[in-house]
């Protein structure tokens, strides 16, 4: 076995580097990992010339938990709670995306009701995430009140989540081949009530900030990312659309029956912070539009794939009365859903962008290898380019407009 040499670098060189920090014209400041602007544990090494940023290097990994490796040691259903902790601002969408990825590998078709429920969950997650994104973005420009307004609305969404899943934050709602449970009685009415209350608030935020001269000056022309750059850096989601690329997986590769719903995809023109704000605000409105339609035509029928015997656990009443179901349940609990050998890549339009799962299976209930393509990580990669030449005070605005989550970025 070959011995690999690991270099720890020249100590004198490192020392002189540290000294150069004090000698040059540039000031190096460390923003984070615990800093109010960095939204979590992001660390920025920023070089300043006066107040102008000449270099910005994001350092990620402070929240690394090794989710991809963890996934190799547990069954597919057991991994669902881990997906909550990816983009923890819209956790239920991660559940859905993960379940869809595994189901694509298995190749099962879901009943329409299950799809519609999952779609409602996805759009609620988008609302959760975008409301926080817009609120925190307002806070980053100094408008603290907007943050409180959006949080009040988010609170109602959490209550909805609690009614649906029993948990406010870590939902873990989906199962491979279905859901944890059907929607409770009257829940759709509650959703309708919440989104009806939300619409005027969104309009109010829009009026409060979008035409505000200070906000306008702070965001227009700041952190511009051209169409080409946005594509080259692999941006997805609202950030990509703000740069003028009309790419939305809900339209381009519809899943969950998104093709049956009527909605628009807002795109920006300049790719600056202001456009990203406008795109997010409009996406909230479009999500509300989708939710209305979905609630209107919620189909009846089973809410899990009934014929997928080795995938989805049988109902409790059947387990207690029927031998076959009891065995089936036992096998599912001990060995996990039986997934055929093969590999699959599936990505869905998460609130933050395209969240992808690449799963390699050698059969059985445990993935052989899993890779998570996290939109936040890709979106964050464009940061060094966007910050150049801007001032320190622009950094929080650019960070806020990118709307990333470190839980997903670091995985």
């Amino acid at each position: 076995m070959a011995v690999k040499e690991v270099s720890i670098g020249d100590i004198t060189a490192r020392n002189s580097e540290a000294e150069a920090e004090f000698k040059g014209d540039q000031m190096v400041i460390n923003m984070g990992p615990s800093h109010p602007a960095t939204h979590g544990v992001l660390r920025l090494k920023v070089e300043l010339n006066g107040e102008t940023v000449t270099k910005c290097e994001p350092v990620v990994g402070y929240l690394h938990r090794g989710d991809e490796k963890i996934a190799e040691n547990m069954t597919y259903n057991q991994f669902i709670p881990y997906t909550d902790r990816l983009d923890y601002l819209g956790p239920i969408h991660n559940n859905v995306t993960f379940a869809l990825a595994v189901e694509k590998l298995i190749g099962i078709e879901l009943p329409p009701r299950c799809q519609a429920i999952r779609l409602i969950c996805c759009e609620l997650a988008r609302l959760q995430s975008h409301l926080l994104g817009c609120g925190v973005y307002g806070m980053d420009t100094g408008a603290l009140t907007v943050f409180m307004y959006t949080f009040t609305e988010r609170e109602k969404l959490y209550t909805l989540m609690e009614q649906l899943t029993g948990a406010r934050f870590t939902t873990s709602y989906t199962r491979i081949g279905g859901l944890a449970r059907d929607i409770p009685e009257g829940w759709l009415g509650n959703v309708l009530k919440v989104i009806n209350e939300m619409e005027p608030v969104v309009d109010e935020i829009d009026k409060l900030l979008s035409r505000n001269k200070i906000f306008y000056d702070r965001t227009v022309g700041v952190g511009v990312l051209s169409k080409e750059d946005a594509i080259a850096y692999g941006l997805t989601g609202p950030n990509l659309r703000a740069s003028g690329v009309a790419m939305d997986l809900r339209k381009d590769e519809p899943y969950l029956g998104y093709e049956q719903y009527d909605f628009d995809v807002p795109i920006g023109t300049n790719g600056d912070c202001y456009d990203r704000w406008l795109v997010r605000l409009e996406e909230i409105r479009q999500s509300i539009r989708i939710l209305r339609q979905a609630i209107d035509k919620m189909p009846d029928g089973p809410w899990y794939a009934e014929d997928a015997k080795k995938i989805f656990a049988p109902r409790k009443d059947k387990i207690m009365t029927s031998m076959e179901e009891l065995i089936q349940n036992f096998m599912l609990v001990t060995e996990g859903p039986q997934v055929p050998a093969g590999e699959v890549y599936f990505e869905a339009e998460n609130p933050k962008g395209a969240l992808g799962f690449y799963i390699v299976s050698k059969g059985g209930g445990v993935p052989y290898r899993m890779k998570i393509r996290s939109p936040s990580f890709c979106n964050l990669s464009a940061l060094p380019k966007m910050c150049l030449g801007h001032m320190v005070a622009d950094l929080p605005v650019i960070l806020g407009s990118l709307d990333f989550v470190l839980g997903e970025c670091d995985r």
Binding site: M27, I29, P36, G138, G142, L144, N212, A393
Partner: protein
Amino acid sequence: MEWNELLLIVFKALLVLSVVMSLAAYAVLAERKVAAWVQGRVGPNRTQIPLLGGIPIIGTFLTRLGVFQPAADGLKFLFKEEPTPGHVNKFYYLLAPMIAFIPAMTTMTVLPFGQYVNEAGEVQPLVLANLDIGILFILAVSSLGVYGIVLGGWASNSKFPFLGGIRASAQMISYELSLGLSLLPVFLWFGGSLNLFNIVQGQTDLLFGFLPQWTILFQPLSALIFLVALFAETNRLPFDMPESETDLVAGYNTEYGAFKFGLYFVGEYTHIIIGSGVFVALFLGGWNLPWVTLPAGLFGTVLSVLIFVIKMLALVFVFMWVRWTLPRFRYDQVMTLGWRWLLPLAVANLVFYAIIIAVIEQF
């Protein structure tokens, strides 16, 4: 000077000091309540003093109102451990909060806050020191406050406070100019008097029998420039560059804790209160109410003080209202606004009123 006169001045000074200090403390509470109100929250409503809070209806009401919160806040500042980071320049580090606090307190000595009309009809001001150069004194002393912030940022020997300190110095010096220039037309208007009491007295009468002679009605632009500059001078949002918490953590006071931070904090609110007081005296007619003549004697005095304080607090509310509504400027935008808009505007305003006043005096 007689010893009893001296005693009276000491008594007045202590009285005004305690009133301003408690006003500053309750301004903090008001800020939190106004913020809560604007944001659809409740605000502080738990703090209570054991015996006082236990009184059946009134105690509960006061607790809900958060009346005891300032006491808790102040005591917290006092009882906290006083950390002094190892990397600071100790002397200046300790000096800075005092320098920020003392000018704020000193300016109030020349601020008239009421009047006393004796039986002969002579009007006397309620003021600690009725200086003829009153407003110059206020401008001179309050601008010393910037040294507290700059020194604090510098002595902390840390990068974020340093940036905050630099911003503070540039910003406050730029806006000092507009602040001073916006006041000149007011002095010209009142015959060149710099005495705040004379200016308030000048706003007593009605013009043409119905129009109150408040300066803001005749010089709205001066009032606007003064107010904007006042926001910048007191480091309030949208001009709170020195401590913009989203990028500079806490700006110049990042390394300060316990009572040293408390001094900065109280200093800031005192600045707001005094600034509002000056604005009321200069532009809003001081303790005058339009179409009402204050009665002579003690009752009229109490009334005048009340009117003045209410006007002042209304302006303090505007400060808070703006803070919780607007986003924050960027540093270079603050500079642009100060030098390229406010300063030329203030100069043009001065020239305009100089000509107007010269023309009026001709006829």
